[in-house]
Amino acid sequence: MSRFETIPSVAQGLGDVGYVADEGIAGVVFLADRLEKPVLVEGPAGTGKTQLAKSVAELTGSRLIRLQCYEGLDESKALYEWNYRKQLLRIQAEQVAEAGGAAAGTDWHALEADIFSEQFLLTRPLLEAIRADEPVVLLVDEVDRVELETEALLLEVLSEYQVSIPELGTVRATQVPMVFLTSNNTRELSEALKRRCLYLHLDYPTLEREREIVRAKVPDITGELADQVARIVRSLRSLELRKAPSVSETLDWARTLVVLGVESIDAAGARDTLHVLLKYQSDIERAARELLAAHA
């Protein structure tokens, strides 16, 4: 039943699919599998929260089902919906058949049972993940964007791995999917939701890990350049910027440097490509002032 043997094997496996995991990440993924609990991943934007779910799906050979959250997301978009147009057609077809001379074939109860059967059910991501026969990874992306009331929808799915549909009864999961919820922390999630999840805080990586990420994702880069990139980014993050460079921006920058054929970063080269890393003019100016022109 369990997908992973040991914690190091999780880290190793994730590394093989191109995700550099530290011990904390590997440990939480391992536990999520063993305890059959969802993982709530929180942290600044661009630190690989969504990528983690994708990589785990790739590692375990599961299908990734993604529910992108947004304000106003409701039951019919997250769980299931009755295909009422098809139901209307079904009823109309019945009426036409009756008018056409066929004796009142089916009574209302039979019809009702018919139009509330599975062929009129539109499954949405949550239900789909529960009903899947093959192993799946469910990714609930940016869960902090939904309202507090909608969050409650998730609770039954996440703790019991089941969905109650009044007309059909309760659908239980045949296999427990791995669930990842990501949050950018724009609001406090409810206690009830947090309690049901394992919590993983993904912060900006350490110097060593970032260097490894750069080398894993930008294969053409030299070790020396990767090291330089990681160190400059770390120094940038220590400044008080409006938006610190994220890992994805680090990677963009590394790729830019490789494409430009830069061997080693000097002040001029860094200044010309800073806009890849930093997205505010005031940040770029400040970084140039502090890092490139500063004289200790």
Binding site: L31, T186, L200, R231, S235, S282, A296
Partner: protein, 481 residues
Amino acid sequence: MLELLSGFVAELRAAGLPVSLTEHLDAATAVHHVPLEDREALKYALGATLVKSSSHWRAFETAFEIYFSPRGAATGAGAGGSGPGDATEGEAGAEGQPAPPGAGSLSGAGGSAEGLSAEELAQLLYRALRSGDRGLGGLAARHAVDRYAGIEPGRPVGGTYYLYRTLRHLDLDALLERLLADERAAGELTDLEDRLVADEYRARIDALRQAVEAEIRRRLVLDRGAEALARSVRKPLPEDVDVMHATRDELAALHRALRPLSRKLAVRLGRKRRHRRRGPLDFRATVRHSLSTGGVPVEPRFRHPRPAKPEIFVVADISGSVASFARFTLHLVYAISTQFSKVRSFVFVDGIDEVTQLFEQAEDPGEAVYRITTEADVVWVDGHSDYGHALTEFDRRWGDEVTSRATVLLLGDARNNYHASGAWVLDGLQRQARHVYWLNPEPRQYWGSGDSIVDEYAVHCDAVVECRTLRQLEGFVATLA
């Protein structure tokens, strides 16, 4: 193990972390699945099940260090255990070395005399930092604690003083200078390289400082047991830190916490404004939408209500008595002013000045706060708070601009140095404005004592709120608007 875990959970709760029974059970289950000898794995297993907020991680880490500290003298587990060759060599050197008599005078604190001499220790530190070897760093930290901390068994302390004493003797700032000077001498460095090297060494020195702290903790645990020590090192969570009495580190943590908080508040308030009420029926949209259901208006459409834009007047006391609170509130005002369209800010001591402009021009809160404290014209006579004069002045100069849509926020401790209160101004403001709130950074039991006249003002305010911590502040702003 389960007993240890229960003690640990009790400690987390005492530190203010909300750990529920389910989470405790989860942790107990999780412990079964991780190899117990792997301390890091255990830490992340407990962290994932017990800690559900990143701001609580530090408190968790401290408690973990204490409850699950590596016992036994020289396990070296906390130091990462790398570089065993260096470690044994250093250890052997340490044992073969009799205590040099002259070095004792350097450690006036009466540390244990065994171990390395001061010069050798400095040498070891230098090598550890130069090479960035964690094992060597851990070894240096152990020797440093041996030599300088002067731990007195049985004293009920948290170790802050031992840490301070050790670090003072190590003089890491001078060491940093020396390392940098050596780097510069070794080869020509460009500005960029220079900066990178400095940052690298700073990171290593930080790691060393943490190693020293961990070492002191470990020894204290050996001395007094986990529970007693946990009680002495317990610190409030960032959102519970009293702003008036925060240390510099705590203030820095507060400011970091303030930024996401302001974004959170903006999101919440924005949502509230959009969703509070539906507007009147939008007939046209309803008919248009009904076409998809065969002309039957199944789903009525409504107009969006025009969002009410609250006008906010923030009047803050920035006198010495509330200095750290004032800096904090100025950061908050900055955060608010970037989220709301109409925020006007005023600061006063005994005179009053409008600083809306400064906030609008400044790029970041640090700069804004700096310019306000240097440029705002807030001293009228002697630079001691005079609420009466400041309020009268406010009324005279800007009183007419407070409309019925405005919310007035007053920030201060209302310690008026026995001047006239000028409470009639507030009375007038309350009639004019939609709301008048007073945020007081003092604990409620001090209100009205000494020269505090907050009670006199309170009768004219919609609410006077005790606002000493981030949590209280968050609670208040959520009720606003």
